[in-house]
Structures are given as structure tokens and as C-alpha cells.
Symmetry: C2
Subunit: 335 residues, 2 copies
């Protein structure tokens, strides 16, 4: 490990994993944390509960399609949802720089309230800290969330089997591209909009229809689709093949990514998730997703095969590319 | 309200209250949050649960008696404990500045692990974000916690009645004074040590002995004893009288506070709580506290009387001073 914290330690890719594995898990070696799932599931009195936490440091604070407030609610709601939990309550902790306009804080709080209504959750506990000018860039928001996990639901890496299908609920890279374009004032910024949205509704539909056939889900935030898929492959000790031609990417995102030399497979999403579903039920799952507003562009994008934790991309020309987790140029403060 | 966020919005005193009431509660008007308790209690499947969140921005990161890691664990454990919950699990979210020495992060994580063992809790979910140099001062840590609240326990402001006694588990002002002295490199810094400690053990003892006679508890962090007592008086619509001669203050804290023109009643504590207990059981409560290592200097320091939300200090000379919440010079980044 390097001697100092680097931006890449926070990009959700290989260095984040190294930091979590070699530092945090060494000090906190409990089985639940070791699972490295989006939310931690534990036995509460009378049932299984899930908790998750996420800090939001996105820059710019306002961006096409959302703001830091919306993101802070959706982010934690989605981490709970992909873990199979119904999100119930959030906590919100505000870190504020002296001098932040109260009007901005008011807009973020209004956004959060709106996002909570949309997702059907409530913020029931909070905290506010203020630090002097120059000690924090305007505002960071942390949310933690609690949800209930149905007793009958059992998601888990160990359930993956060759032939399982990989589904996605829509096109990738929109959040990451919108943030970058807004931040750098790129000419095409106007055509890009963050996909940030609460996924608990669409996931509830999926789990209602085929509760036993969904094996694992991940939301595709920092590190994007490729990093999440690679994490699943490693954790499940199998290989995953993605079909490049099937992965939906909007033309505006594709164009912008090409211009900037970025791969949409590694760009952050804030309203997208992947689900691994048993093959016989993949078409049913696709139908469920497609009938939900957040799943209109849903697709079956790949499948699981025997292997040792590799992720491959089959190109339209018959080639196969090996994909790793995000490494290299980090895109800081994307969420 | 002012147009911009000021340091005093984060000091836990009058301006923090204004911000919470006029901005956050306007956007999040749910009954649980309105309670403004240290932790929020909600009905989980099969029992009552409590959640709490706190961000830690203390400066310096290492101080006599602790560091930001310990504080981050104890702070949330204590918020749960004074709400009557047995803390079970924490989440930990790290906000890191690019360039932070990994060795420091390692020490904070080790501190957190040690503090978790001491408090009997586990960190089961986490998050790491990194921002560029200059966008955050080294490290901030957020913890959120979940605990279980016994069905038979009912703490609440509405239970306060004239004659109830106010107890404290020890001497005040040590954390605040230690931080200030360390930060300003004051000559007497060596004699001061933070009182930071997990309160769930001593509170469990108290609730085991007299579960029905404890009416409300608060930990005495930002804003100190006076602010917490005033909050209770306002919320319970009663008056509270504190006996100045009974409030324990160590000579080193007293001397340092006098030198700096600070009042120990408003200095932050990280291992102290106040409890309002029915009068006939106050001596029993005191005995329980005194038998615990964290309660050796416990005292009965005041009582509740009819009134409209005022806090008074009876001086040893027979006078009575009106006390308000912390207003004025904020002591930023005390926790």
C-alpha cells in the first residue's frame, strides 16, 4: 500500500478494495463487514435488518438531473434495495463549511425531502457540524439507512451458477458523464443528465415476481458496471461474460466518453443496478423490469460461467476482452 | 436566520437549534425527528430499535485521552445509550483528504476497533471517500449506530415532575478543555485529559436497578451540561435548578477555564451524562453510578420544579443565575 491516501483510494476500484481489505478489515474482522456487500444484514429482534452508510462529496453540488441532496437519499436507499432490504429510515449528517449560503442548504434539504417522499423513506435522526472556511469544500452529506429484509429472501454470491443471466435496468454512464461535463463546463454538458433515482420500487417489483430466482444484485455507482460485475465474479468464484452489444449506452454518453477517452463501463451510475437471475426466469425478470419506468431500457447483458473470478466482455466482432476493476485515473467526487 | 452558515450553527447551542428547527424540521416534519432526542426510536419487526448518527471533525486528531477514532465510536454509542438503547452495530464512513498518512488512518482504525471492543459493538458497514488536497482537513469520520430498546423502558420528557432529581456521573468540562488546550498548545495542556468513554455499561447498570425511575437521560457533548439541561427544561416544560456547589469540576479544568474566560457548564464532555430520576430513588441511582468506574464522582446536582422551561444555577452564596443554551463564541471542532 502507498504511504498516503490517494484519490484512487476513493474511486471504488482496485485501490479502494486494497484499502478496505488490508486496513479496515484487518481492524474490523467481523463476518458481516467481510461480506463487503452494499448493506450489512444482521439479526434484529424479530427479523433481519440491513444497514448501510454512504458519504456524498459530489462536485458540483447542483448538476443536471439532481443535486447532492437527492444523491444522498437515493444512494443509501439503493444500497439497501440491492441487498434485498425494504428501506425504512435514514439518518442524515451534514458537514458544512462556514459561509455556505443558507439558501443552498435549504435547497438541498428540500431535495432530500422530495427524494424521501419518492422513495418512501423518512429521515428520523440527524447531525450538523460546521468547520471553518477552507477546512471542507462547502458541504458533505452522510446518510445511513435501515431496512427490513424478508425472512424468505436469500441473496448471496454462493448461489451463482453457470448459465445464470445478468440483467441491467437501463443505460450506463449517465451520472458519471453528467458530473464530469458539468464540472469541466464541457460543450455537450446540456445533453447529459444524471440517472439518479431510487431503485427500491423497481427492485421490489422484481423480488415480488421471482423472489427465489434473483441471486445477487449490485447498484452500479463508483467504478461502474465493470467494477461491480468483477466484484461479483471474484466473490462468487465464477466468470462473468458481458455482451458489449447488449449493454445500453445512450449516444450522448457514448460520444462524450469517446471524446474524453473514458469507458462507459467504468462510469458511475446512480439509478442503475445489475441482477444475476437464474436462466429460466431471465425473460420474466426482463419483463418485470421493462414495465417499470426505471427499467424501460432494461436488457439481459451477460451470463455466468464456470471460472475463477474473471470478467470478460464479448465484443460485437467476436473478440473477448478481459476487464478488471477500475484502476488508473480516478474520477474524484463523482458522488 | 443569517444568510450563511456560521461556526455557531455547529456548536450545539442556540443557533444549532434554530437551524434544526427552522430549516431541517421544516423539510423533514416527522414526529420522530421532531423529538430531537440523541437517538431516534422506531418500531422494528419484533421490537423497538434506535438509530443515531454523528460526524466527527475534532481538531487536533490526536489529543490527551483519545483520538478522532475513539470519539467516533463512543459518540454514537453514547447517543444510543442515553436514549435507553443497547448499542449493537455501527456503520463507519471515512472522509479522507488526499495525502493523509496511511499510518494515521491505521491508528484511527485501531482506536475504533479498541473502542468497539470496550463498548461491545461491531462496525458492520462502512464507506470511504477521498477528496483532493485542500477540500477537507485531513479526516472526518461519521458513525451511525443501531440499538435495541427494551419494550418495558419508557424514557420521555413528559414524565418529568417537580421534585425529580438531576444526577451526573462525574466531573464536567474535561473533553472540551483538553481539546482547546491541545489545539492552542497551552502550557497546562499536560494536566488535562479528555473524559471520552463509552457510557452504555454504566447506563445499563442504572436501568437494570431502577428501570422505571429513570425519566430522561442526555449525554453532555457540544454545549455542555447547561445546554443539555436547558434543552430538557424546554422540552419538558418545567424548570431545572442546578446546585453550582454540587457540580463536580476538576481543579485543572476550573483553573484553565477561568484563565480562558470559559464556563465549564458549557464545555463539551464525551463520557458524561445527566439523568433525571424520581426523588425517592435518587440515592439508589447515585449508589449504582458510584459503583461503576465511570461514575466514581457521580453526584446529585439539581432538581426539577414547576416552571416554563428555565434553567437556573443556585450559587454557593445563595444567589440564583439564569442559564441559557450556549450562545456566543463557538468552540469549533470540539468533537
Amino acid at each position: 500500500m502507498s504511504d498516503v491516501v490517494m484519490l484512487a483510494h476513493g474511486d471504488g476500484g482496485a485501490l479502494t478494495h486494497e484499502l478496505v481489505r488490508d486496513l479496515f478489515l484487518r481492524h474490523f474482522p467481523n463476518q458481516t463487514l467481510k461480506g463487503l456487500t452494499d448493506a450489512a444484514i444482521f439479526a434484529g429482534p424479530g427479523g433481519r435488518l440491513a444497514v448501510s452508510t454512504d458519504s456524498f462529496v459530489v462536485n458540483p453540488l447542483f448538476f443536471p438531473g439532481g443535486d447532492i441532496g437527492k444523491l444522498a437519499v437515493y444512494g443509501t436507499v439503493n444500497d439497501l434495495a440491492v441487498s434485498g432490504a425494504s428501506p425504512l429510515y435514514l439518518t442524515a449528517a451534514f458537514l458544512l463549511e462556514e459561509g455556505l449560503p443558507i439558501a443552498d442548504l435549504d435547497r438541498f434539504a428540500a431535495s432530500m425531502a422530495e427524494a424521501c417522499t419518492e422513495a418512501g423513506v423518512e429521515i428520523i435522526a440527524g447531525d450538523t457540524k460546521v468547520v471553518g472556511r477552507g477546512n471542507l469544500d462547502r458541504i458533505f452529506i452522510n446518510t445511513a439507512g435501515v431496512g427490513v429484509v424478508p425472512e424468505t429472501l436469500h441473496l448471496g454470491y454462493s448461489r451463482l451458477a453457470p448459465g445464470d443471466r445478468v440483467l441491467i435496468n437501463g443505460s450506463i454512464g449517465e451520472h458519471g458523464m453528467a458530473i464530469l461535463a458539468a464540472r469541466e463546463n464541457l460543450a455537450f454538458a446540456g445533453q447529459l443528465e444524471s440517472d439518479c433515482a431510487p431503485l427500491n420500487g423497481i427492485i421490489a417489483e422484481l423480488l415480488r415476481e421471482i423472489p427465489r430466482e434473483v441471486k445477487i444484485m449490485r447498484d452500479l455507482t463508483r467504478g461502474g458496471l465493470a467494477t461491480a460485475a468483477k466484484e461479483i465474479a471474484v466473490a462468487a468464484r465464477c466468470d462473468i461474460y458481458l455482451e458489449e452489444a447488449e449493454v445500453p449506452v445512450r449516444p450522448a454518453v457514448k460520444g462524450a466518453a469517446e471524446l474524453l477517452g473514458l469507458d462507459p463501463l467504468y462510469l458511475a451510475n446512480e439509478g442503475k443496478f445489475m441482477a444475476v437471475v437464474s436462466a429460466p426466469y431471465a425473460e420474466d425478470a426482463l419483463t418485470v423490469l421493462k414495465t417499470h419506468p426505471l427499467g424501460r431500457s432494461a436488457r439481459i447483458i451477460g451470463e455466468v460461467s464456470d471460472g475463477g473470478g474473471n470478467l470478460y466482455l464479448r465484443t460485437p466482432f467476436g473478440g473477448t476482452k478481459y476487464l478488471d476493476m477500475l484502476v488508473g485515473e480516478p474520477l474524484p467526487r463523482i458522488c
